[in-house]
Amino acid sequence: MNIFRLSNLRSLLAVFAVASFVFVATNVAAKDPIKIGFSMALTGPLAGGGKQALIGMEMWADDINAKGGILGRQVDLVYYDDQTKASNVPTIYAKLLDVDKVDFVVSGYGTNLIAPAMPLVKQRDIVFMGLFGMDNNKKWKHDKYFQVMPSGPDPAVDFSRAWFETIMQLNPKPKSIAFVAADAEFARTLKAGAEVNAKRLGMKVTYNKNFKPGTPDFTPIMRAINATNPDVIYVAAYPGGAQGMTRAVSEVGTKAVAFGGGMVGLQFAGIMKTLGPKLNGILNYDFYVPEPNMNLYPGVVDLLKRYQKIAPAKKVDLKGWYLAPWSYAYLQILGDAVNAVGKIDHAAIAKYIHATEFTTVVGKVRFGKNGEWLKGRVLTVQWQNIKKQGDLEQFAQPGIRKIMAPAAFATGKVQPFNSLR
């Protein structure tokens, strides 16, 4: 064969051109950023948490990009405001996947905003990290769903388990309970789980009702509860309702020896500052509090210091205790898993996450079969020693939210509600 013949030269040139094109295209694609898409409550009732979470996520993106990104590619966060409206979520995720062509999706903040995305992620069979969802996977049983809230394997029940274990340390042991919950998915699910715990302990239910979000005054509800003489009162509510019930119990009073449970919002800096001493005695859930033993989480103190420098300019929660570490962690887990697997393969990534115990800014995290934590770690804290209203810095001191449970983290012993008011 004479390679210098024109036809042979043309063939060689064509092969060379195609090979060059493939080489260049592959390298260009390999340098495209990895896009992680999500909706987030940036306006609406849950925006106080959503904006806080977003800062945690942006900090993670900055950190991972500084280390070279995921699979050698920089990370881009692509997100839209769901306005705390469940109806906005499906179209946002459809857009993220089909128009923005993101590589991964993660959830927005909260049960009500995760639920509408579940059908789509299940249909697409993709990894989906959840941020503070209450039992969202119960119906779907999606094997690629992972939830960073430390509820436990049976989230609705495990979430309040520590609260009930705590109240049983009171003397005499409480025998009756009143339930009140907001008419929203998270609160109703939480209340249902708490009812299971109450039944397990043989407690008599004296009151069990829901209220609509936007209720302006909760004193009629508080009086109706008091009329049934419960030993303890379990409240499952979002920020508006949590504040309303806190004010109502402050105005009306109660003979119950424990009050609280699943009150979202009491963990937000602005609400703590507004309510001040009205919080004393409330026994509520939390995930991270500035008690000395919580500083054992690797990196969380520095993370919060960085967050607290950024927060004032962004007009968000000034402390970031409630969500920033967790929103950082759920992306941290995803990033670590993708890097470990070495490619974008949702099945392999999900398998890796199921099989691995991660070390994160919120400590060790291990998921069970349904994507919930293998072992729960919801804290039960009791507010104590709050002296002033309008002073946020007092809440940064240890001894304000004393940890009652789990025992491994405990910094105090539960006291009757009225003894602290």
Binding site: T219, I221, T228, G390
Partner: protein, 296 residues
């Protein structure tokens, strides 16, 4: 579980809550009831007023009600300006009231976004000595958090009612709603009357905002939860009737409080709006609506 203590406290809170609802709705009874302007941004203006009270209360320690009263003239001027735009864009061209709805939707979103940009999204509250105080008469408690807004709301509502019915300008406002042509024939410019009336409507938002932030903490989008309620109260009371709005607000407050206490709070909205439907079925013009006025 029934007891005299529960019943008496439910009635008292129902009355106080009714007064609060009246304060939220009275301005809308002017703009929507009298002027046929579907101002869906009315609750958003109330929240704007609430945030102004918050900023002056947290920065300078000023009482929120005082701030609300001080800023009422500014809200009045804002109202006249907004009406001017609305008139030139819609009323002058003969557009129906519903077409102006889109305009006020836009105004509502602009207000919310501006509040978010300036204040952020967190809940905010005010501090005043009387907020945590309560009076007790036997088994009945009267929390000042609800009582003070009730008193101010009554003064504002009854004052507006007196203004509407006893003053020349108030009667001119009523005339605009009844017969615009007749008003023109009497050499009165209806748009001027409407401009001032709309300004008054917004001025009430400044005071209502102060009462709102005393009753509960606020965040920029919380006004949306009250859109349906304020319109329902205005329609139930009878379009254009301030007295009717007051009665309707009291009725709603009482129903909500009694149902919440004795049957459960989740029933309260259903029963309250069932009462609305029932009243309108019997009297389509509302409680004190004018016969022949079927705008509701």
């Amino acid at each position: 579980m029934f007891s005299f203590e529960l019943l008496s406290n439910a009635i008292v809170i129902g009355i106080l809550l009714g007064g609060f609802y009246a304060a939220l709705s009275i301005g809308l009874s002017l703009s929507f009831g009298l002027l046929d302007i579907v101002n869906i941004a009315h609750p958003a203006f109330i929240i704007l007023g609430a945030f102004i009270c918050f900023i002056f209360n947290s920065s300078y320690g000023l009482d929120p009600i005082l701030v609300g009263i001080i800023f009422a003239p500014a809200f009045f001027l804002l109202g006249t300006l907004i009406y001017r735009v609305y008139y030139e864009s819609f009323e002058k061209t003969g557009a129906t009231a519903l077409r102006g709805l889109a305009f006020f939707f836009g105004v509502m979103f602009i207000i919310e976004v501006l509040l978010i940009i300036y204040f952020g999204v967190d809940y905010q509250g005010v501090q005043a000595e009387y907020i945590d105080y309560k009076l007790t008469f036997g088994v009945v408690d009267i929390p000042f958090r609800m009582f003070v807004p009730f008193v101010v709301a009554m003064i504002m509502t009854l004052g507006l009612q007196y203004f509407s019915s006893k003053t020349f300008f108030g009667r001119a406002m009523q005339a605009v709603a009844q017969d615009t042509l007749a008003l023109r024939l009497m050499a009165i410019d209806p748009s001027k009357i409407k401009r001032i009336a709309f300004g008054l409507s917004l001025a009430t938002c400044s005071v209502a905002g102060a009462l709102f932030v005393i009753v509960m903490p606020i965040e920029p989008s919380i006004g949306r939860l009250y859109i349906g309620q304020v319109f329902a109260i205005v329609v139930l009371g009878g379009l254009g009737s301030q007295s009717g709005t007051l009665i309707a607000a009291m009725l709603l407050g009482m129903v909500e409080s009694l149902i919440s206490t004795f049957f459960g709070p989740s029933w309260a909205p259903a029963v309250a709006f069932s009462a609305l439907i029932l009243v309108l079925a019997i009297k389509p013009t509302g409680i004190l609506g004018r016969v022949g006025d079927t705008r509701g």
